[in-house]
């Protein structure tokens, strides 16, 4: 067991060079999500009870597709950062923490890629 304090063992190694990056990205995506979230509620409310052809036509509209893409990118970034904070708060073991952080990134990437691919297919596909 080391007699050194945790501070002593990291001092002079340099900072992570990230600064307030996490904090700032969380705020920027939060502002975007505020408006894009309202858009999402409107979009879904307007499509409740609609048949597939109507939904497909509406989601293929360029303005709606762009807003949806923005929502997916901003939303998945925001939720990944948020879950990262939660993991860092509650998961203390080094290995479980790294595994959880990896899974968090993979989950956010999966949701983002699956959604983006679907939106693009609706816009450009036959």
């Amino acid at each position: 067991m080391s007699m050194r304090t945790p501070l002593k063992s990291v001092r002079y190694l340099g900072s992570a060079k990230e600064g307030a990056d996490h904090f700032w990205k969380q705020r920027v995506t939060a502002v975007a999500n505020l408006f894009l979230g309202i858009f999402l509620v409107w979009l879904i409310a307007s499509l409740v009870g609609a048949d597939h052809a109507t939904v497909k036509q509406k989601l293929a509209n360029p303005l709606i597709a762009l807003a949806l893409l923005a929502l997916i990118i901003s939303g998945t970034t925001h939720m990944r950062l948020g879950m990262q904070t939660i993991i860092e708060d509650y998961v203390h073991g080094e290995v479980p923490k790294i595994v959880a952080l990896l899974l968090n990134t993979f989950f956010a990437a999966f949701v983002a890629l699956a959604s983006i691919f679907s939106i693009l297919k609706l816009s450009f596909g036959a």
């Binding site: 705020r27 939060a30 509620v41 409310a45 409740v48 989950f107 959604s115 679907s118 939106i119």
Partner: protein, 136 residues
């Protein structure tokens, strides 16, 4: 020799911050609920992805997915998702206010916290009423 054994056999004292004697205050509850709704929206993002995938796959699969959303359990989840989204959204606005350094007066804090809950519940009901009256 008794002095050396004292270190290894510590009595089970309560650890800081004594969560069992904390009094629940609105600010604390809303902070926890903000985090919980965030987690709910995190996993709820799968629903949005599923809906988009279904629309991209085709009419048959889209109808199949919608039949799941249409069950009482599906509707309950979507109702919960709506509230979580509204609550996290209004809670986010509350945090924006606090980020500017304003609204830290205790009475204002309580007002903002209760206001978050009241507004999120109201908006959820209004959205579902509007959808119920407009569609179906």
């Amino acid at each position: 020799m008794q002095a050396t054994s004292g270190r290894s056999a510590r009595p089970a004292r309560p650890l800081s911050p004594h969560l069992q004697i904390y009094k629940l205050i609105p600010n604390m509850v809303m902070s926890i609920v903000h985090r919980i709704t965030g987690v709910a929206l995190y996993f709820g993002s799968l629903l949005l992805a599923w809906w988009l995938i279904a629309a991209a796959v085709g009419a048959d699969y889209y109808n199949y997915v919608l039949s799941w959303f249409g069950t009482w359990f599906g509707k309950l989840v979507l109702l919960g998702y709506t509230w979580a989204l509204m609550h996290h959204m209004i809670g986010g606005i509350r945090h924006f206010i606090w980020d500017t350094g304003a609204g830290y007066d205790l009475k204002v804090v309580d007002l903002l916290c209760w206001g978050t809950l009241a507004l999120s519940l109201t908006l959820t009901v209004l959205i579902w009423l509007a959808v119920g009256l407009g569609g179906a």
